[in-house]
Point group: C2
């Protein structure tokens, strides 16, 4: 066993997997070694030039086992990826080797009322569409649901649109089972069920190759998309909290953005008057009428509304929320970056208010409401005018000093992001399934620093 | 206008409504003048002998208007009732007159995804069954759903099975529209939508005859019924709170009963070992596997489980919860009564623990978890060993002094129960629609004490 990275040796990238689609073109390989860590001006230089040596694209479990066995035999680092829509550089290979692209393993094995079994490369939108055919839908999805894979979402995501109802992916019940291929001398197939899934959940692919997943579904609603604007930011924020807490109103998305963030939503500009703050919402059609009363109570104005039957037409409002908000901002101004934060429960949103006034336009407020332990709180995906790393850290510390949890997106170590502490169960599982430390090396502190 | 009760005068009960089914048999009339205020040893003597003079059973809106017009013409008190499954004596006529039985007006007008339009006399189970045919279900229902009517539930209920997800009936969005017939000289039909429904919601039928309702539905889940037992009551209670707060687990019912309450559930005794405390649950089938992990974490034991496909077989677990818990207790021992209470948010349940130990078996702990303003809290429907009215009031005050809200079920005045204060909008609406104060007279303090 070793905790130091292994460099390629004694293998020919182009001929190692004769039966499996292999990409060696450097431009392609470089592209498939990337994710959205590029949102971070700190990670950009740190991860610059980090690429795999070869990309392999198996089409079934047998081929994945072949790849695993070869990597073990030659001690080649292996980095698993889906669509690469995550952040933290979590699927950027720090030590070259094989990039295992799972996107061709994309069969929906079955969908039953309340649960689906899928292969890891299935796109979230694809599963959602299939589930909807029988009246169900994904409980939650990131704003990248059209391209993101379910395997990547579980390995590196945390929640998203729908989290206002079902909390985060790590919450018990939001992932029913996982099948992983080990990186042992004789790769094995292991099925994890129940709480055991947490051994692999959000572990950035360091401890087993996820090939299949059993995902619980939500009973589907017809979702309307709505934009509401407000003249005052805190009124918009408190409207968001009130909607989050309105038990009689069914919602899936409550995104609140302070001006000038709405100015970055080019495609939505006609619905977003200058100097107004915007709520981007998904609400069940049945709740549209009560929504009007809530909007009136807060003095907001509904500027846009699309019914579920038109969901496929025009833009998708969800694609302006969560991490897409930052994407749109950076499309206008690449000097912008972002923060991730979760506010403690406080219906008065006093910390949001303090920070909004304290930082002004340097830290533009972007809130996504979600449930944490049964209570709706705002997560902040603040858009930041970046100046220096020191100032960015100062901003982060200012938040942390006030009890705001910051899953820092400017680091590339698993535990330094959202987890903060070493997950002993995940490290122990890695000891079993990846004894040579070949999987995504350099990302898990608990592995690198173990006795 | 008058605020004093009106007594029958100048009318013949048997001939007033020749085209409408009329019941004058005193035994029948007495029976149809009752509700479940009989759970209260305080209300029993107070409301003893209070009956209507005649029961009328119209079959459509035109007949309701006839009844309304006649009552106005002759200044006859009118008390509207559904199945009479409520409490507080809310449909017991204090001043005789006409009992308007709505149970024959029971057409389901339409059911669409997310919403249904029904006549007031539709039984909750009947609507639920119809909604389920297209994949939807009622958001919440009392334990009396098999007999209770939707009109009665709205006029006098507050929540129930499902409230852990959708809060209470009074929460914005849980009732979309109401149609009422007025008691003016020329009775009118009025449709209330949006927030305006609160003018009539839970007003005990004092301000307009509800004839139709538009009810939002929930997307349906296959619900499993489960009994879990615990050796320690507070462990059971904390398990209940943990399940309530588990955002990744879908549930509809979390009922926790302290021993000896389970001993009153005669039909369930084989699943309820002596001296154990019981959780009666409805959980979506997909959440059964994670439930096992949660039960294990709290050291509980699953003693009974029924899948959704068998919902129609054997007993209905929900019929041992909410007010049915008290019913079963009183079936064994008629000296028992109950309390209604809502605990403030506190995940540690310290008040529950204090009261459990303070009162011992005198106030047997029965908790139903529900959402209040977005937060899951336990409501108490404690079973009480009644001794004297003074002691009962002492118990109530002991709770209230600790910040526990008590919708006192031992009073027969609307505001003295759950509301506590006069609802000005409801009184004003009554001024318009019932200018002669004929509807359920003697129940609304805000009307009796108005200037």
């Amino acid at each position: 066993m070793t905790s130091t990275p292994i460099t390629p040796n004694d293998w020919d990238t182009s001929t190692l997997f004769p039966e499996i689609e292999t990409i060696t073109d450097p431009v392609q390989v470089t592209k498939l070694s990337q994710d959205y860590h590029t949102f971070s001006p700190i990670l950009q230089p740190k991860l610059a030039g980090k690429t795999g040596d070869v990309v392999v694209r198996p089409v079934n479990e047998a081929q994945v086992i072949q790849v695993a066995a070869a990597c073990v035999k030659y001690k080649i680092p292996l980095t698993v990826r889906g669509a690469g829509t995550g952040n933290y550089g979590q699927c950027v290979p720090l030590h070259g080797g094989v990039i295992l692209d799972m996107t061709r393993i994309q069969e929906i094995l079955w969908v039953k009322p309340g649960v689906a079994r899928v292969e890891a490369g299935v796109k979230l939108a694809q599963l959602d569409k299939k589930a909807r055919e029988i009246g169900w839908e994904m409980r939650m999805a990131p704003s990248t649901y059209r391209t993101a894979t379910i395997g990547g979402f579980i390995a590196g995501g945390s929640g998203g649109i729908g989290s206002i109802n079902y909390g985060l992916l790590g919450d018990r019940g939001n992932l029913l089972a996982l099948k992983v291929i080990t990186m042992e001398d004789q790769p094995r197939v292991i099925e994890l069920r129940g709480d055991d899934v947490q051994k692999v959940n959000h572990a950035w692919g360091v401890n087993g190759i996820i090939t299949e997943l059993e995902i619980p579904l939500a009973a589907a609603y017809p979702w309307a998309e709505i934009i509401v604007t407000f003249h005052d930011f805190m009124t918009a924020a408190k409207f968001g909290q009130a909607l989050a807490d309105a038990d009689g109103m069914i919602k899936k998305l409550i995104c609140i953005t302070a001006w000038p963030i709405p100015s970055y939503f080019v495609a939505l500009r006609s619905y977003l008057p200058d100097n107004t703050h915007a709520a981007l919402l998904m609400v069940s059609e049945t709740s549209l009428e009560p929504l009007q009363d809530l909007v009136a109570e807060f003095g907001g104005k509904i500027t846009y509304q699309k019914l579920a039957q038109d969901a496929g037409k025009g833009f998708h409002l969800a694609e302006f929320t969560w991490n897409h908000t930052t994407l749109h901002a950076r499309n206008v101004d690449t000097s912008l970056t972002y923060l991730q934060s979760v506010f403690p429960p406080d219906k008065s949103l006093s910390l949001v208010e303090e920070l909004y006034h304290h930082f002004g336009d340097e830290v533009m407020m972007h809130l996504e409401f979600l449930r944490v332990g049964g209570i709706a709180v705002p997560a902040g995906l603040q858009v930041i005018r970046f100046t220096t790393e020191e100032r960015l850290n100062e901003i982060i510390h200012y938040h942390e000093a006030r009890g705001i949890f910051v899953p820092n997106p400017h680091v590339h170590i698993l535990e330094d992001g959202g987890r903060k502490t070493v997950d002993v169960a995940q490290v122990k599982f890695k000891e079993m399934v990846d004894p040579y430390g070949l999987m995504n090396p350099g990302k898990m502190r608990g592995w690198m620093e173990r006795a």
